[in-house]
């Protein structure tokens, strides 16, 4: 079972409160510290971005298109692990290239264990890259 470390912070961006709360619960069950945001702008305005270890984002978030958020996050934190979730898999066909750091994606409704495994793997890879 994938377990997070108590000091890893995972940010979640989704405009749907029930999805947001369920992800918070799932991530807490794996001992991650969780920060919830209902839009990309809220995340960028919060000043949390430099401190988070992983970002889970719905692509279809209001206020700022998911891809715009990705570009800004990638510019500010090029190595940050990103996982995308979407209700419309076709949207991913328009996903821009982010070099070697291509985000993983999951289609709603997704399998919780698979998502946790992907987070754990992404954090390990990012940690290995830093060291």
């Amino acid at each position: 079972m994938a377990e997070g470390s108590s000091w890893s912070i995972v940010a979640v961006v989704d405009d749907d409160q029930s999805v947001l709360r369920s992800l918070e619960y799932l991530l807490e069950s794996a001992d991650y510290a969780v920060r919830l945001f209902t839009s990309g702008k809220e995340l960028l305005d919060s000043g949390c971005l430099p401190r988070i270890d992983c970002l889970i984002s719905d692509i279809d978030v209001p206020g700022m298109e998911g891809f715009d958020l990705l570009r800004q996050v990638h510019a500010a934190r090029p190595g940050l692990p990103i996982i995308l979730i979407t209700g419309y898999p076709d949207t991913l066909k328009r996903l821009p290239s982010f070099g070697g750091n291509s985000p993983r994606f999951f289609t709603k409704p997704f399998q919780g264990p698979e998502l946790l495994a992907a987070i754990s793997e992404a954090l390990s890879r990012a940690s290995a890259t830093r060291s």
Binding site: M1, D16, S18, V19, R21, S22, L23, Y25, L26, E28, S29, A30, G87, K108, P109, F110, Q111, G112, P113, L115
Partner: protein, 535 residues
């Protein structure tokens, strides 16, 4: 019972030679005949006996214009034949080709046009050509009128059309050639018409006027008895013009180059152009009408697809969010229970959240149903038979493509209903589309029956029956369930939405097996007797 076989000549409804004339077109036809009459007799009345100079360039212009208009008319009629495959159209097209072809030797034989005594020599030749040209055309009209009610089964197959046109053209060319040779060489057997290059014989009314008048009158009577289309109407106008043009040739005295003779040339040019102008005008009008119809149908289809797609996408999105939350929370709950020291409080909280999200998913479905129910502002009182007709028209392309015969049985006593017209059109269209899909899969006689009738006094019931694959017995309990589909590319929302719409209109939607095969879908709606009584 109104029976319309969708497989039979749909295009005929849009082809000029089959369209009935409108009152305006009838008025126009009468106006043309009266106008020609008045113009001709106003001219010859005061000036009829006046002899004018021989203007040979006028004859050249007149014959050239006649040749061009008759040739184009023939081509357009041959084109109409290639669509309709009716022998009658082939006959009249050949008639116009015949007149066009005879104009050539007429011009060549007319003294002074290309040579002082005509290229084709002979004093009588041009007059004889005129006689046979004006006797020949009414004969073609008679042939047209007699063959226009032929049995549709005797019509030529598509592959034989080109051969039939070619055969007619060859026969007509040989016919015109034979007539020309007869006129050139047959002075001994044909009556004498010309005294000299300008004056007619005194018997002109008997030897030329009478045969032309008799044939035109006969053609007019035969055509009148069988008149049906715009083409019939304007052919009668042409025959009237032929008749009107006879007296000015010999009144007050018979001669070429009189005021009356020149006036007749002009009116005959007009009368020969009538069918061409009408054909061109109607073709342009029909083209515009068809273009508008195609664009309207495309817009309606796009709107229909957008409505269906938007509803399906909206349902998918709205249901997917609570579903995602439920699955994710359940995964989290399992993880809290799987710990070495299970966290029961967190697990209980997870269950509570799952219940809440489950209710939210239910609310989403409820709100979609409520959308259909609360749309009161769009409800009007309308004739359901009209909406059935529109839905059948929208599905006509698919019905034709799959060779499905349509039996429409609208009740003439049907009261109006109150409801959202476009939603009920969607329901009908959906049921018709399902019926088409069910029949397209079976290679057996395909019949779609749509019936409306009064039901228990205060309701109307509409039945849509097909001869398709029917509903499998194991599916009968679930075909109205959301997401149930028997189609490989279906979303399974159609019947579910249809039932929601009908129930929102306080009606019922159900189905039964059709005999001997297929399915019948019925739905009821509340009748609006007050509106029906007021009409």
């Amino acid at each position: 019972m109104l029976k319309a076989d969708a497989t039979v000549s749909e295009e005929e409804r849009f082809v000029l030679s089959n369209l009935p004339p409108s009152p305006g077109q009838k008025r126009l036809a009468i106006g043309i005949v009266l106008g020609l009459c008045i113009a001709l007799y106003l001219v010859i009345g005061p000036f009829g006996g006046k002899q004018l100079p021989e203007v040979q360039s006028f004859v050249a212009f007149y014959t050239t214009a006649m040749f061009v208009t008759d040739s184009i008319t023939a081509i357009l009629l041959f084109t109409q034949f290639s669509i309709l495959r009716s022998r009658a159209i082939l006959v009249i097209a050949s008639g116009y080709l015949f007149t066009a072809l005879l104009i050539v030797p007429y011009a060549l034989a007319f003294p002074g046009v290309f040579a002082p005594n005509g290229v084709i020599d002979g004093l009588q030749t041009s007059a004889h050509l005129y006689l046979l040209w004006h006797c020949g055309f009414p004969l073609f009209v008679i042939g047209y009128a007699l063959s226009k009610d032929e049995d549709e089964s005797r019509r030529l197959s598509q592959g034989k059309v080109s051969a039939a046109i070619l055969r007619s053209v060859v026969f007509t060319v040989f016919g015109a050639l034979a007539v020309t040779i007869l006129c050139m060489k047959g002075e001994a057997v044909l009556p004498r018409i010309m005294l000299d290059r300008a004056r007619f014989v005194a018997e002109w009314p008997l030897v030329v006027g009478a045969p032309i008048a008799a044939l035109c009158a006969t053609a007019l009577v035969v055509l009148w008895l069988r008149r049906r289309s715009i083409l019939d109407l304007f052919l009668m106008v042409v025959l009237c013009a032929y008749l009107i043009e006879i007296p000015p040739h010999y009144y007050p005295f018979p001669a070429r180059f009189s005021t009356g003779w020149y006036a007749v040339r002009i009116t005959s040019l007009i009368s020969s152009s009538i069918v061409l102008v009408v054909l061109l005008y109607e073709i342009t009008a029909l083209y515009g009408g068809l273009l508008r119809a195609v664009l309207r149908q495309r817009r309606e289809r796009e709107a229909r697809l957008m409505t269906g797609d938007a509803v399906a996408a909206s349902i998918a999105h709205e249901v997917r969010q609570p579903l995602t939350a439920m699955v994710t929370t359940a995964d989290a709950g399992l993880r809290f229970l799987d710990r070495s020291a299970p966290n029961l409080d967190k697990a209980k909280e997870a269950f509570r959240r799952i219940v809440a999200d489950g209710h939210r998913a239910g609310d989403v479905i409820g709100s979609i149903r409520a959308n259909f129910r609360t749309d009161v502002r769009d409800r009007t009182s309308f004739d359901l038979n009209e909406v059935i007709g529109e839905a059948l028209a929208l599905g006509r392309g698919d019905l034709l493509r799959h060779r499905i015969a349509v039996q429409a049985e609208p009740s003439s006593q049907l009261p109006k209903v109150i409801g959202n017209r476009s939603q009920l059109q969607q329901v009908l269209l959906n049921l018709i589309t399902n019926a088409i899909d069910a029949m397209a899969a079976k290679d057996e006689p395909r019949i779609l029956s749509v019936k409306s009738e009064v039901h228990e006094g205060d309701r109307v019931v509409v039945s849509i029956a097909d001869t398709g694959t029917g509903v499998r017995s194991q599916d009968t309990d679930r075909i109205f369930n959301p997401l149930f589909t028997s189609k490989p590319d279906g979303m399974g929302m159609g019947l579910s939405i249809c039932r929601a719409i009908i129930e929102a209109h306080e009606g019922q939607l159900w189905f039964a097996p059709n005999n001997p095969r297929g399915a019948v879908f019925h739905f009821t709606l509340r009748a609006n007797h007050a509106a029906s009584a007021a009409v």
